[in-house]
Amino acid sequence: MLMETLANRNIAFSDEQAMMLDAAKRFVADKSPTDKVRALIEEEAGFDSAVWAECAALGWTGMALEEAYGGSGLGFGALVPVVEQMGRGLMATPLVPTVLAGAVIQLAGTDAQKTPYLPKIAEGGVATLALGERDGGWGLADCAASVTRDGDTVKLSGAKVLVEHANIADVIVVSVTLDGKTALVLVEGGELGDLTRETVIDETRRVFRFSLDGISVPADRLLDPAKTADALRFIELASCMLCAADALGGADSCLAVIVEYLNTRKQFGKLIGAYQALKHPAAEILTGIEQGRSLLYHAATLFDEDWATPATEIAVRMAKAAADDVAIFAGDRAIQFHGGFGFTYECDAQLYRRRSIWNGAHFGDAAHQKEKLADLLF
């Protein structure tokens, strides 16, 4: 696998994707300037529903959905430039959980499940995934939450944590244990009980925990058991890829924030960007981002060729590892290089550093990815 991996230098990027990238860049710059990001942090909803509607209108929620369900069938990898730009703008939307949930339903849902839910998603309905558990690591299997059959219904029990936008989701893909195996079951928003908003490090997120106890849904809400293992693997890889895109976008604007300050602030009579102690780490952040983007677009290319191959898994994990490393480094240095100002809430450095903690802590940090890579490669 190592030699194949080293030999594969495939990066495809169509004119259509280029247009999408360009549109996303302009859209995010327009709709998510930093003062808007900060204003949304203070609001309960955490995102601007008008902007979200525009995202849907731009076709982003349907990019990875088949045309039959109102999507454009561009493929999941096509979301990478969009999410990268959102990361750049620290833009808060329910896009990532929505497209992940949509893709999973498309992959492992029955026709009876796809028909009601997917077109809604394409139109901008919010969907999400409920995977996390209180004592949970990064593995998606071995849920403590479970379902038991009860005639035509299944009864859920346990609890889920770290569920993005659970408060507004039309449908939630919930991971549970059924007869000793991991299963995925669809729960509708209205079926949830009380939600508790969680206090998370990335304040641009809206994340909830809730109990499943007392929830019963029709048994046909279970995703196809034969496809569940595939679906879990898809979730992990697709999430890693989008985390990497978000992290690299964030690192990129974090670098811009650093450069801006280094070109403005003077100390001891010189612009501080003239000091190599700041200039060289900035150059290292630059190279980290550039390498990361190469790995990311390679991953996106392989993902759209065939997401299920080991080559794709390798490419995705490489991108995630590289992205986390540089995003953490960039955020950390951004704080330091802003001096006293960097220590304040007002300085944007903290926004990026907090986001890098979020991305790193989702679906395995850089060390975890490298462990998995070693197992795949050596």
Binding site: G132, R134, D135, G136, G137, W138, G139, V161, L162, E198, T199, V200, I201, D202, E203, V207, R209, Q267, F268, Y275, A277, L278, I328, D332, I335, Q336, G339, G340, G342, F343, T344, Y345, E346, C347, A349, Q350, R353, I357, W358, G360, A361, H362, D365, A367, H368, E371
Partner: protein, 401 residues
């Protein structure tokens, strides 16, 4: 100085017993780890009460003169008390600037009136002190302070602003570095040092929200604030020397003289305890070889930091570069805290998403908050980058950057 071992043992036992009985219970909210992190009145009141209790027990300012509010006891006794508090990670003494900077300065250079006026309130925490050194536009360049103190009749008129005034809103007094002479031959010669009241017209401490989301510092604005000439300490124009002496008190023999530790940094053993508690790949993180390797490195780093002082006591072992150990402690200690807390965040795994205030945050969110707060030391008091310049230039003799 030889101390009777029996006396020492007896006193140690007495101290331990007192802390066994009097150590405060968990207040139910996350306490700050240093005076730079006191963000709420609730935290402040708790800490103030605790300092007062320690003082009333006779365990603070033990070696300071009785006539000013101290106890005129030997320093070794205070050191035993301080070590015990540190070891137990008890809440720090909140009047940190008073105890470690203003107090030693006043005892050393102040007039009899000043000693009588200020020392006791420092010990009881009735009079909180803050410091006014840094300014918004001159972070690491202390000598470039621009806050003006202009003579007008019999008073000085203060205009400008200071930043990073911890406890600014609680403070009754400030030690202030200000510019009394705009035309002085060099930037240092124009500076003077003052002990000023905070609760007067024209002084306005505005809390700064830290990146942790908490408060703890102020920016203090001075708008035609008028102070008496008796606020001056040292000579007019001699402020730089007083400021350097004050910083030296903190580092030198007078440091910790008043007693009571001022910071609860993380120790590697706490990170090890965390690694035993959390899981990685379904197993305790402490079993992960990568984690073990990194933790071993942190033990080496922390041990090295502790041993540097022990080595420096043997002159032949530092004579080649006597300035190295004193000048590198801040750099190494602050970067060690930053790196170790950053690593701790990684240990949290998925739980790193939770922050202070969430019921599922491990150790109440302490690790992420500690990481973010660690920058106060890698930035404040001369950034890590400035510290490396200092080592390169003053210890190794390399040319200026």
């Amino acid at each position: 100085m030889s101390i009777d071992p029996q006396e020492r043992a007896a006193f140690t036992a007495e101290v331990k017993a007192w802390f066994d009985d009097n150590a405060p219970a968990d207040p139910g909210f996350l306490l700050p780890q240093s005076f730079m992190e006191v963000g709420t009145d609730q935290q402040f009141e708790f800490l103030k009460t605790w300092q007062r209790k320690v003082y009333d027990a006779g365990y603070l300012g033990m070696a300071w003169p009785k006539e000013y509010g101290g106890h005129s006891k030997p320093q070794w006794m205070q050191d035993i008390v301080t070590a015990e508090m540190t070891k137990r990670k008890l809440p720090f003494m909140v009047n940190t600037i008073g105890l470690n900077w203003a107090g030693p300065l006043i005892l050393n250079m102040g007039t009899e009136e000043q000693k009588k006026a200020y020392i006791k309130g420092i010990l009881t925490a009735d009079d909180i002190w803050c410091q006014g050194f840094s300014e918004p536009d001159h972070g690491s360049d202390l000598g470039n302070a621009q806050l003006k103190a202009e003579k007008d009749g019999n008073e000085y008129v203060l205009n400008g602003s200071k930043i990073w005034t911890s406890l600014g809103a609680h403070a009754k007094y400030m030690i202030l570095l200000a510019r009394t002479d705009q035309e002085a031959a060099n930037k240092y010669a124009g500076l003077s040092f003052f002990l000023i009241p905070m609760k007067i017209d024209g002084i306005d401490p505005v809390p700064i929200k830290k990146m942790t989301g908490e408060y703890g510092f102020c920016q203090t604005f001075f708008d035609d604030a008028r102070i008496a000439p008796s606020c001056l300490i040292g000579d007019e124009g001699g402020g730089w020397q007083v400021a350097m002496a004050t910083l030296a008190f903190e580092r030198g023999a007078a440091g910790g003289q008043a007693g009571g530790h001022s910071m609860n940094s993380q120790s590697v053993h706490e990170v090890v305890a965390l690694a035993r508690k959390v899981k990685r790949n379904g197993k305790p993180a402490i079993d992960d070889p990568l984690v073990r390797q990194q933790l071993a490195q942190f033990v080496i780093d922390q041990k090295g930091l502790h041993l540097n002082g022990a080595r420096a006591k043997h002159k032949p072992l530092t004579e080649d570069r006597p300035a190295a150990v004193p000048l590198m402690g801040k750099l190494l200690g602050s970067e060690f805290q930053r790196r170790m807390n950053e690593f701790a965040i990684l240990l949290l795994g998925q739980n790193a998403n939770y922050y202070v205030g969430d019921e599922d945050a491990i150790d109440g969110g302490l690790w992420t908050r500690s990481y973010l707060n660690s920058f106060s030391a890698t930035i404040g008091g001369g950034t890590t980058q400035v510290q490396k310049n200092i080592l390169g230039e003053r210890v190794l003799g390399l040319p200026k950057s």
